[in-house]
């Protein structure tokens, strides 16, 4: 079975500062890793995904994440945040490349202070 742990439920940061949202996963098999963003009162939008290849993955809105197999981590980073990045961020895993179920973490609320 797979599981996802997001270590911080809330992360406050000042505008234009860098941010890192932490994610660790557990799985006995190879998995695919995702970060989703959920803006207030909206559904989920895919930020980026790691399927294979380069461990540094670049996504939309200037976000990137690094897959670390030895530490079973997939932390999300952005060098300079904007007010518009205020949202809930979910790390997620999927067992394979098919449309199998996605297992989500509990989320990290990113709040940006001006």
């Amino acid at each position: 079975a797979q599981s996802v742990t997001q270590l911080d439920s809330q992360v406050p940061v000042f505008e234009e500062a860098p941010v890192e949202l932490r994610c660790n996963y557990s799985s006995s098999v190879s998995v695919y890793l995702f970060w989703y963003v959920q803006y207030p009162n909206q559904g989920l939008q895919l930020l980026l995904k790691y399927l294979s290849g380069s461990t540094l993955v670049k996504g939309i809105n200037g976000f990137e994440a690094e897959f670390n197999k030895s530490q079973t981590s997939f932390h999300l980073r952005k060098p300079s945040v904007h007010i518009s990045d205020t949202a809930e961020y979910f790390c997620a895993v999927r067992r394979d490349s098919s449309a199998s179920k996605i297992i989500f973490g509990s989320g990290t609320r990113l709040s940006i202070r001006p």
């Binding site: 989703y36 909206q42 559904g43 989920l44 394979d96 199998s100 179920k101 989500f104 989320g107």
Partner: protein
Amino acid sequence: DAGVTQSPTHLIKTRGQQVTLRCSPKSGHDTVSWYQQALGQGPQFIFQYYEEEERQRGNFPDRFSGHQFPNYSSELNVNALLLGDSALYLCASSPRGSAPREQYFGPGTRLTVT
């Protein structure tokens, strides 16, 4: 091209009642997955439909049932509603074809049980 659509947007029901939520997948998508997102939590997988059959199921009671129609749209039915069923219900669709088959999420239906 319309994305995944869900109806209704909001719904208020009383304990013990039954509810039906609807999902229309993106054009070219044939697989529909349903997730429940309780307040302050990450989405949890309910079940997935492909070729009008339930293919995978998460840890949800039989009160939760679904259906997929020949046009690939789907319904989620919940019987004997409990207060704990209050949540945002998300539908996700996946395209036909070879892997990887990304899941695209709709905006959700907010269900409140009183």
